[in-house]
C-alpha cells in the first residue's frame, strides 16, 4: 500500500512549547531539557533572576524585573501576579505561534501560583492548547501554602484547557524512605518529565491511532484533576508485558488499584515498527482488567522509525476521588464566588453541614468530589468554585455511584493505612471483587 500524505492541519506543524514557571517549574524544565533534549522549545520563567542564570533552558524570561527587582516573589502570589502583569508582553511573545503549551508549575509559592494563570490566559488567547502540569505542596508545608495552591489551581482551571495535578505527598512514595532528599525530588521530577514527554509523544506521534486533543480533554475534564499516570518500557521477547506491568506498577497508580475508580483512561502504546497488533491487544487486555467496565478507554498507538526503540506503555487517567492528602482549606481572601462564600464563613457551621445531606447550594460538584480529608479539616469550605465559572463546559451527569462520596470514603479511610499488612507489596489476590489480602473481619464488618 502506498503511503499517502495526510492532510496536515496547520496547527500541528507549530512547535510545542514547555514553560516552567517559578522555582519548581524551572527546575522541572531543566530536567526535561537534560532528559529529552529536542522534545520541545523550553522556556524558563521566574521572578528570581538568580535561578534563571543557572537554568539550562534555551529561553529565559525574567518576570517583573521592576516589581520584584529580580529577587523573587517571596512566596506571595500577589507579587507573582504583579510581576506577570508587568512582563505580559514578554509572556505573550513566549507563547505565540505554538500548537501546544505545557505549563510546569509548582503551586503554593509566589511566582508559580501568581504568574501561571496569567501565562495560561495569554497562551489560550494566542490559540494554543494549554495544559498545566502542577504539583501541590506537601501537607507538612502548612495550610497557607495549600490554600495558595488551591486558589492558584482554581485560577488555572479557568484559563488552561486542562490541569493535571501531581500531589507531592504521593510523590514521596516514589522513593524509599532511606533515600536522600535529592533522590526523592529527582524521582518526582523524572516522573513529571516522563509525563510531559509522553504527552507530546501522544499528541505528535506518528501512528495508526493518534490521540486527539478531544480524547485528551475528555479524560482530563472528567473527575478530579488529580492525575493517574504510569509509564513503562519493555524490550526483548516479552516487551509488551513488561511495559504494561511497569506502567501499572507506577506508584501514582497504586499498582493499578487507583484505576478502579477511573472513568476515562488513555492508554498510549509506542513502539518500533515491529510492534504487532497482538502485543497491543495484550496490553489493552491487561490494562482493561484494572479499569471499570463503564469507563472510557482510549487507545492510542504511535510507531517510531527506529527499530531499536523499546515498547512504551503510558497509562493516563483521572480518578473519581479527590486527593487524599491535600487539605482544601479556606482561602484567606474572599473567593470570587459571591453566592456560597458568605454562607460558609463561620467554620463550625460549615463543618456540620458538610456531614449532613447536601443542601442545594452546596451540592457536591460531580467533577470534583469532596476529598476525604475535608471531613477532618478544621475549617472546611465548599470546593473552590472552579467549574461553575462561565466558559467551562457543562458538567456531565453524575453517576449514581458517586452521589454520596463523602460517606463511603469515610468508612474505608480508617482501615486504609495498614489493611494489607505484610501483603502490602505483593500482587493483590482479588476474588469476586474482594481483595483477599485485607483481613476478612475488616471486610465483613461494613456489610453486616
Amino acid at each position: 500500500m502506498l503511503p499517502y500524505p495526510k492532510n496536515e492541519i496547520p496547527r500541528a506543524s507549530l512547535p510545542a512549547r514547555i514553560i516552567g514557571i517559578g522555582n519548581a517549574g524551572v527546575q522541572l524544565a531543566d530536567r526535561l531539557v537534560m532528559n529529552s533534549p529536542g522534545l520541545a522549545e523550553v522556556v524558563a520563567m521566574n521572578s528570581d533572576a538568580q535561578s534563571l542564570t543557572s537554568t539550562v533552558a534555551p529561553r529565559k524570561s525574567n518576570l517583573g524585573p521592576r516589581a520584584t527587582r529580580g529577587l523573587g516573589a517571596g512566596g506571595d502570589p500577589e507579587v507573582g501576579f504583579e510581576a506577570a502583569q508587568e512582563s505580559l508582553e514578554e509572556i505573550r511573545f513566549a507563547v505565540e505561534a505554538s500548537s501546544t503549551v505545557i505549563l510546569l508549575v509548582g503551586l503554593g509559592g509566589g511566582t508559580g501560583s501568581g504568574a501561571a494563570p496569567v501565562v495560561a490566559e495569554a497562551a489560550k488567547e494566542a490559540g494554543a492548547f494549554v495544559l498545566a502540569l502542577v504539583t501541590t505542596p506537601f501537607s507538612f508545608e502548612g495550610r497557607r501554602r495549600a490554600a495558595q495552591a488551591a486558589e492558584a489551581e482554581a485560577a488555572l482551571q479557568r484559563h488552561a484547557h486542562a490541569v493535571i495535578r501531581f500531589e507531592n505527598d504521593r510523590m514521596a512514595d516514589l522513593s524509599s524512605p532511606r533515600e536522600g532528599i535529592s533522590e526523592t525530588f529527582e524521582a518526582a521530577d523524572r516522573l513529571l518529565s516522563e509525563c510531559v514527554a509522553s504527552f507530546l509523544e501522544m499528541l505528535n506521534g506518528d501512528g495508526p491511532m493518534p490521540v486527539t486533543i478531544g480524547n485528551l480533554l475528555s479524560v482530563l475534564r472528567e473527575g478530579s484533576p488529580s492525575a493517574l499516570f504510569g509509564r513503562g518500557e519493555g524490550q526483548g521477547d516479552n516487551r509488551a508485558h513488561e511495559a504494561v506491568e511497569r506502567a501499572l506498577k507506577s506508584p501514582l497508580l497504586d499498582r493499578g488499584r487507583m484505576l478502579d475508580d477511573a472513568h476515562a483512561v488513555i492508554v498510549h502504546v509506542g513502539g518500533p515498527p515491529t510492534l504487532s497488533f497482538s502485543e497491543t491487544a495484550a496490553i489493552m487486555r491487561e490494562t482493561s482488567k484494572h479499569v471499570p467496565d463503564d469507563a472510557h478507554l482510549f487507545l492510542s498507538v504511535s510507531v517510531t522509525k527506529t527499530a531499536s526503540s523499546p515498547v512504551t506503555v503510558t497509562v493516563f487517567g483521572n480518578h473519581e476521588g479527590g486527593p487524599p492528602s491535600t487539605p482544601q482549606t479556606r482561602v484567606a481572601r474572599p473567593t470570587p464566588e459571591p453566592k456560597a462564600a458568605p454562607e460558609f464563613t463561620p467554620a463550625k457551621v460549615a463543618k456540620k453541614e458538610v456531614q449532613q445531606s447536601p443542601t442545594p447550594d452546596q451540592k457536591p460538584d460531580p467533577l470534583r468530589p469532596s476529598p476525604p480529608g475535608r471531613l477532618f479539616a478544621d475549617d472546611t469550605e465548599p470546593t473552590p468554585p472552579i467549574l461553575s465559572q462561565p466558559g467551562v463546559p457543562a458538567t456531565p451527569p453524575a453517576t449514581p455511584k458517586k452521589t454520596n462520596p463523602a460517606k463511603v470514603r469515610q468508612e474505608t479511610l480508617q482501615f486504609e493505612p495498614a489493611a494489607r499488612g505484610r501483603f502490602e507489596k505483593s500482587e493483590p489476590t482479588i476474588v469476586e471483587g474482594e481483595d483477599l489480602d485485607v483481613p476478612t473481619f475488616l471486610r465483613a464488618r461494613p456489610k453486616t
Binding site: A418, R420, R422, F423, S426, V431, L436, P439, F441
Partner: protein, 405 residues
C-alpha cells in the same frame, strides 16, 4: 520395576522448604529415607519473590535431607503453586482410519494432543493433562481403549496450566543449587497422591492443602481428577489478620496462632484473656481469646466458602462420597475441621499419609504431605510408563498372530 529408585520431592513453600528423599520399592511401596526442612524466605503466596534467598533456603533443606538420608541428591521433582495456575476440562477426539479398526497407543497420544488444542494465554505452559475418561464410538466408561475396535476415540482431559516464567522461578532456585529437575507437579495433585488411595478416589473426594501462602484444592470424582485450583490465601493471611487486628508484630501473631489460636468461636469462656509474654518473660499485653478466635474463624471460613463454591459449581456432593481431606501446615490449626464440616456439609478428615513407611513423626506431619506427594506422583508416573509398554508388547504380539492368519 525391579530396581529400587531413589526419588526426591521438594516443595518450595511460602513458610518452609521441604525435601523428602524416598526409596521406591516393588509395587507401590515407598520408604522415606530422610527429610529436610528449612524455614522459607523470599517466597510470597507460593511464588518466588527473592531468588537468592529462596535458593539458599532450598540449599539448606536439600543438604539436611542429604545428610539425614545419606544419599547424594541429583534429580529432584518439585511441586509448584501460585495464583496463576489454572485448570479446565477439555475433550479431544480422533477418527480411527478405516483400514485399521483397532485403537493403538498412537491414537491415545493423538487424542491427548487434540485435547490440548485449546486457547491458553500465550505466556502460559501446560503442566498436566490428566486423562479422565475415554469414549469409544460414544461408549462411556472405557478405561483402556488400546486394542479395542472402534471408529472414533474421544477422551476427556483435565488440563492444568500456568504462567511459564513464574513457574521457572521455582525451578531455578533448585537448579541454582546444581540439581536436575526431574518432574514438575502442582501442589494440589501432589497432595492428593499423598493422602488419597484408589478407593477414596473412586468414591470421590476433595483434597484441600492449606499452606502458608496458598490453598490448593483438587476434586476427584469417579476415580478421576474433576477439578483443581489455587486460592492465593493461606496461613500467612491468618497471621497477618491477627497481626493487624490485635496490633501485634507478625512474628508474635504467628506464634499466637499456633500456640493459642482456634478457628472455632463461642467455645471460650467469655472474657478469657491471653497474656502475651514479652522478651523478658514478663507478661505484656493482654488479648481476649474470643477476639483472636473470631479473627481466625472469619478467615478460615472464607477460604472454605470460596473453595466450596467452586467445587459445588461443577461437582454435585453425592459424587464426593469420601468427603473432604485437609492437609498442609495450616490443617494443624485447632478447630479447622469443624469449620470445614460446617461449610462442606460432609465428613472432613485431617489427612495423613498412608501407604508409606518410614519415621512415624514425619508421616503424621501434614507439612510434609506435598513433598511426599511429589515422590508418590513420580512413582506412579514411572509405574504408568513401564506398564503400557509391557502390555502393549503383549497385545502387539497377539495382534501380530491374528493378522498373520
Amino acid at each position: 520395576m525391579a530396581r529400587n529408585d531413589i526419588l526426591v520431592g521438594v516443595e518450595v513453600g511460602t513458610s518452609k522448604v521441604c525435601a523428602v528423599v524416598a526409596e521406591s520399592g516393588r509395587d507401590t511401596e515407598l520408604r522415606i529415607l530422610g527429610v529436610g526442612m528449612a524455614p522459607s524466605r523470599g517466597v510470597r503466596k507460593g511464588e518466588i519473590v527473592d531468588l537468592a534467598i529462596a535458593t539458599e533456603c532450598v540449599h539448606d533443606a536439600l543438604s539436611e535431607a542429604e545428610s539425614n538420608s545419606d544419599v547424594g541428591i541429583e534429580d529432584v521433582s518439585v511441586a509448584v503453586t501460585g495464583s496463576h495456575i489454572a485448570s479446565f476440562n477439555s475433550r479431544g477426539a480422533v477418527a480411527i482410519p478405516s483400514e485399521r479398526l483397532e485403537i493403538d497407543e498412537d491414537d491415545l497420544n493423538e487424542v491427548a494432543i487434540k485435547a490440548r488444542e485449546v486457547n491458553i494465554p500465550t505466556e502460559n505452559t501446560f503442566l498436566h493433562s490428566i486423562i479422565q475418561h475415554y469414549y469409544v464410538d460414544g461408549q462411556e466408561g472405557v478405561i483402556n481403549p488400546v486394542g479395542l475396535v472402534g471408529r472414533r476415540l474421544e477422551a476427556d482431559f483435565h488440563i492444568i496450566h500456568g504462567v511459564k516464567t513464574r513457574l521457572q522461578n521455582t525451578l531455578r532456585c533448585i537448579e541454582e543449587n546444581g540439581m536436575q529437575i526431574d518432574q514438575v507437579v502442582t501442589n494440589a495433585l501432589a497432595s492428593s497422591h499423598a493422602v488419597l488411595n484408589d478407593h477414596q478416589r473412586e468414591l470421590g473426594a476433595v483434597v484441600i492443602d492449606i499452606g502458608g501462602g496458598v490453598s490448593d484444592f483438587i476434586v476427584f470424582a469417579d476415580g478421576v481428577v474433576k477439578q483443581s485450583g489455587v486460592l492465593a490465601v493461606g496461613g500467612d493471611h491468618v497471621s497477618n489478620d491477627i497481626s493487624l487486628g490485635l496490633r501485634i508484630p507478625l512474628t508474635r501473631a504467628e506464634k499466637l496462632k499456633v500456640d493459642e489460636g482456634s478457628a472455632l468461636i463461642g467455645k471460650s469462656v467469655p472474657g478469657e484473656m491471653i497474656s502475651l509474654k514479652n522478651d523478658a518473660g514478663f507478661s505484656g499485653k493482654e488479648i481476649e481469646r474470643e477476639m483472636l478466635n473470631t479473627i481466625m474463624h472469619a478467615r478460615v471460613l472464607e477460604i472454605f466458602t470460596l473453595i466450596q463454591k467452586q467445587v459445588a459449581a461443577e461437582t454435585p456432593s453425592h459424587k464426593l462420597g469420601a468427603g473432604v481431606y485437609l492437609t498442609g501446615g495450616c490443617s494443624l490449626m485447632k478447630g479447622i475441621r469443624e469449620v470445614a464440616e460446617s461449610i462442606f456439609e460432609m465428613p472432613v478428615h485431617l489427612a495423613r499419609d498412608a501407604g508409606v513407611s518410614g519415621p512415624k513423626s514425619i508421616l503424621n506431619n501434614p507439612q510434609y504431605s506435598t513433598a511426599i506427594g511429589v515422590v508418590r506422583f513420580v512413582q506412579a508416573r514411572m509405574a504408568e510408563e513401564e506398564e503400557p509398554t509391557l502390555l502393549g508388547s503383549i497385545l502387539g504380539r497377539i495382534g501380530g498372530i491374528f493378522s498373520r492368519r
